[in-house]
């Protein structure tokens, strides 16, 4: 090889080396740029490619009644959405979707023409609708899971439970009040997925998921249903504007039922007007009318200014106070205090009020909780109006005795009756019994609490005795009487104020009945109020039957034993019959026992097998060498031949068995 050629080879090697050097330098610089300068940015970009976030929206907690029955619970349902840009032939797609989902075609088309990349078509659809849409197989349409709230009891207890929005937020009632417990918190997980997007590895949640809590209410689903049904019937029958029925335990203040009409179905709450959602038992106030007399009586008895036997002059139905004349429904003369309450004499009530004094009466009304909130765990409670005595005219102070010039909520009234029923303690009403976690362990319990002692137990007992007279045949509310149970209560027929004329209307009333049963040991306080009933507006006619129906059913439901009293107990002849029939029963039992008493077996004869089991019969038969035909199973009730028949060789014994009781 020539020297020139060798040189050329060397030059080429150098050139190649230099090229490689430059290439390596470039690679190195690029690596430096990628790894060092842009390292963190690019690694996070890559990470985004193979990791993802998984957000688990929390499911709203369940609401149970006092017996563990579900009143509100959430389940996952599908929601339908679209990527408008991916949907081809939008017009045809809109027509087919509208038909499958029972929607308006124009609305669907509008959603498909949406300029955004994502648009809801229909949220929370039914499984049937999902199947129909899947069959259409339209590109750009997809489903996602969302939680939907269900209220299986529908209208029952709806005004107490309230409802939650599509976005899992409580909007009314207990759902609103306890939203922070029911809502829970969503959890965010990070995960690594493969090229096909399938999840591989989950990291622990970045935000610790807080499971929602469940609520256990004091409500009883069955009592609530009964109260709602009875109230609905009464409102329809009397063509009233609205109605309220509260059932409460006087010893604890637990609300067992709170029925309100007009009612609504919380599953489709958006189809109702806001006034139908309102829990009128707590938010509406009215004048209590004659029910006020029960508290007037309690105050007067507590102060010792009267006794149930005190006789007062009811002025033959007309009594002048200044330029005003007070009337009674009937012209009463001299009446005992117990009769004043029984017949609901307004003039008699004024006379009791005069003895007690306006200041004292107002004091007792305050003590009974009027003019202040009850403290129930429910949003939107109103405290009503109780004016100070100094702001009242003379007539105002007197008409207060029969429930004018004061405004109370049905719940306040129920709690005040509760204080009379339980021996004088004004309780705080409550609806939520406990808040429990997903394992059922209580994180917070609510207990009965006494707000204050209003009257002594002796006074309460006397008031109960007087109020029992109201439901007697000659009282104002015989329709509230419950067979076999003692009832005490008070009717009220309060005139409403005409908002235009600013005077008491002669056509618009609130019919009320508040009471408790059994009156000697009250298990229930029930308050019924109907707003503007048409026809006969009296509380004893319109509201009392609801008290009776709900009370009777609830007492049975709670297994409250009837109070047998001379007036309501069995008549002497019936009692005699019962005793006789009891004797008959015991006699027949005795006879039967005699019949099946074992008789001694005679030697050489068929033994008595009555009452024996199969095994014993077969054993005896084998000992005596008899062949046995067994009929049925259980114990022997019949045998052929009869016991005592002389034994003969190769004799067949047929024995009939019956299952023992």
């Amino acid at each position: 090889m020539r020297i020139k050629d060798k040189k050329w080879i060397r030059i080429r090697i150098y050139i190649t080396g230099i090229c490689f050097f430059f290439v390596f330098c470039l690679i190195f610089l690029r690596a430096y740029q990628l790894q060092i300068l842009k390292g963190s940015e690019l690694s996070s970009l890559a990470k985004r490619g193979y990791t993802g976030k998984l957000i688990l929206t929390s499911q709203r907690g369940t609401i149970f009644d006092r017996n563990g029955k579900e009143l509100a619970l959430s389940i996952e349902v599908d929601s339908l959405y679209c990527y408008p840009k991916k949907v081809k032939n939008k017009k045809t797609a809109a027509t087919r979707l509208a038909r499958a989902l029972n929607l308006d075609k124009r609305d669907v088309l509008k959603k498909l023409h949406n300029s955004r990349s994502f648009s809801w078509i229909k949220r929370k659809v039914t499984p049937e609708e999902i199947n129909r849409v899947r069959e259409l197989n339209i590109t750009g349409i997809d489903f996602t899971k969302e939680n939907r709230r269900y209220y299986p009891c529908m209208e029952t207890g709806a005004h107490v439970i309230g409802f939650a929005s599509q976005d899992n937020k409580g909007l009314e009632g207990i759902e609103l009040k306890y939203n922070r417990y029911l809502e829970g918190q969503e959890a965010r997980f990070s995960r690594i997925h493969d090229a096909l997007g399938r999840p591989l590895i989950f990291d622990g949640p970045r935000i610790e998921k807080q499971d929602p809590f469940n609520l256990i209410l004091t409500l009883d689903k069955d009592i609530s249903y009964k109260a709602q049904k009875a109230l609905r019937k009464a409102v329809r029958r009397s063509r009233a504007r609205s109605g309220v029925c509260i059932v409460m335990r006087p010893q604890t203040g637990e609300i067992l039922a709170m029925a309100v009409v007009p009612e609504f179905n919380p599953n489709i709450f958006w189809k109702y007007q806001p006034y139908e959602w309102r829990n009128r038992a707590i938010t509406d106030c009215f004048e209590p009318g004659s029910t006020q007399k029960a508290f007037l009586l309690a105050g007067a008895l507590e102060e010792g200014v009267i006794s149930p036997e005190t006789v007062l002059n009811c002025e033959k139905g007309e009594y002048a106070i200044g330029s005003f004349i007070i009337h009674d429904s009937r012209p009463f003369g001299m009446l005992k205090v117990s009769e004043i309450i029984k017949f609901s004499s307004n003039i008699g009530a004024i006379k009791i009020g005069q003895r007690l004094g306006a200041e004292h009466f107002n004091y007792y009304l305050e003590r009974f909780g009027f003019g202040e909130k009850t403290g129930i765990d429910f949003p939107g409670e109103r405290k009503g109006i109780l004016r100070p005595i100094r702001n009242m005219s003379l007539i105002g102070q007197n008409t207060l005795c029969f429930g004018q010039g004061i405004s109370v909520s049905p719940l306040q009234l129920a709690m005040a009756f509760g204080a009379i029923a339980n021996g004088g303690h004004l309780m705080r009403p409550y609806i939520v019994k406990s808040i429990v976690d997903q394992r059922g362990e209580a994180i917070r319990n609510f207990y009965p609490s006494i707000r204050r002692d209003v009257i002594s137990s002796e006074t309460a007992k006397k008031v109960r005795g007087v109020l029992e007279g109201v439901v007697r045949q000659d009282g104002t509310a015989p329709k509230a009487a419950i067979k076999k149970y003692s009832v005490a209560g008070k009717t009220g027929t309060a005139q409403k104020v005409d908002p235009i004329k600013k005077i008491y209307s002669n056509k618009k009333f609130v019919a009320i009945f508040g009471g408790f049963t059994p009156s000697d040991s009250p298990a229930l306080v029930i308050l019924v109020a109907l707003d503007e009933p048409k026809g006969i507006p009296y509380g004893g006619v319109v509201a009392a039957p609801v008290f009776r129906d709900v009370g009777y059913w609830t007492l049975n439901h709670l297994n409250v034993v009837p109070s047998f009293r001379p007036a309501t107990s069995l008549s002497a002849s019936k009692a005699r019959t019962l005793r006789t029939s009891q004797q008959d029963v015991s006699h027949s039992i005795e006879r039967k026992e005699k019949m099946i008493a074992p008789r001694p077996d005679l030697p050489g004869s068929i033994p008595n097998l009555i009452g024996l089991g199969v095994r014993d019969v077969l054993k005896k038969a084998q000992q005596l060498g008899l062949r046995v035909v067994v009929k049925g199973s259980g114990i022997v009730v019949e045998q052929v031949p009869e016991p005592g028949t002389p034994l003969k060789k190769d004799r067949l014994l047929t024995v009939t068995f019956r299952p023992s009781a």
Binding site: E76, C153, T156, I192, P199, L200, D222, K483
Partner: protein, 79 residues
């Protein structure tokens, strides 16, 4: 010997990784399954609650079986 050891470590590493991936898949599958079963359980609870609603039971008892509430005189309280 060293080569054999390297080979063994390498194979073990690959095996562990593939096993990890498999377990990851089955774990996520199981989690999904648990979620689905829980959800199905909730749906069944809702169905039970709806079927046991007092209104439905009362209508069914009355219309299908001819039952009605007992009258006061038909209830006997035993001491």
């Amino acid at each position: 010997m060293m080569l054999f050891l390297f080979l063994l470590v390498g194979i073990s590493h690959v095996w562990v990784n593939s096993k990890r991936t498999q377990i990851g898949y089955s774990l996520s599958h199981m989690k999904k399954e648990i979620g689905q079963i829980r959800e199905y359980n909730r749906k069944l609870k809702l169905e039970i609650a709806s079927l046991k609603s007092p209104e439905r039971l009362e209508n069914k008892a009355g219309e299908e079986f001819g039952l009605r509430y007992p009258l006061p005189q038909q209830i006997v309280f035993l001491p």
